[in-house]
Subunit: 85 residues, 2 copies
């Protein structure tokens, strides 16, 4: 019985290890992509572009255009109300 | 002159667009990886493992073992001091 428990623990450990290692490989891939994103921004910066503005553009382009215009209109209204123009 | 300015603006816009689109492609790849990570955790959950514990294990495995043991020792000391044992 003790032997069976040990064997079953080993199988579980191997299975768990596989999940952990798959997750770790994906984390590594994610880090590589983040490094590539940093490279793109640095390259753009070297060409005279502003990194923060590029990231904002990417975020804005991901939105539905009508939704974005509506959000900007509301924001403009609030900024005007607060004397931020 | 007006024509030259226009041409140069078009070149700059094309260059900027390339940086933006490269960044967007990397964002898409990053999202795909995040989806794969979620799949691994869901699959592990389906096999009876706890998602949060797996993520914690991955974080702990990324640390230097001696550093991790030192951190755990300090944490244990603080927990004991605060009656959290």
């Amino acid at each position: 019985m003790g032997h069976n428990i040990e064997a079953s623990e080993t199988v579980a450990a191997a299975e768990l290890r596989q999940f952990v290692e798959r997750f770790e490989r994906l984390e590594e891939e994610g880090k590589a992509i983040n490094a590539d994103k940093a490279d793109v921004l640095n390259e753009a910066h070297g060409r005279g572009y502003n990194k923060k503005a590029i990231k904002t553009i990417v975020r804005l382009r991901a939105k539905d255009p009508n939704q974005r215009i509506e959000e900007e209109t509301i924001l403009q209204t609030y900024m005007a109300a607060l004397g931020m123009e």
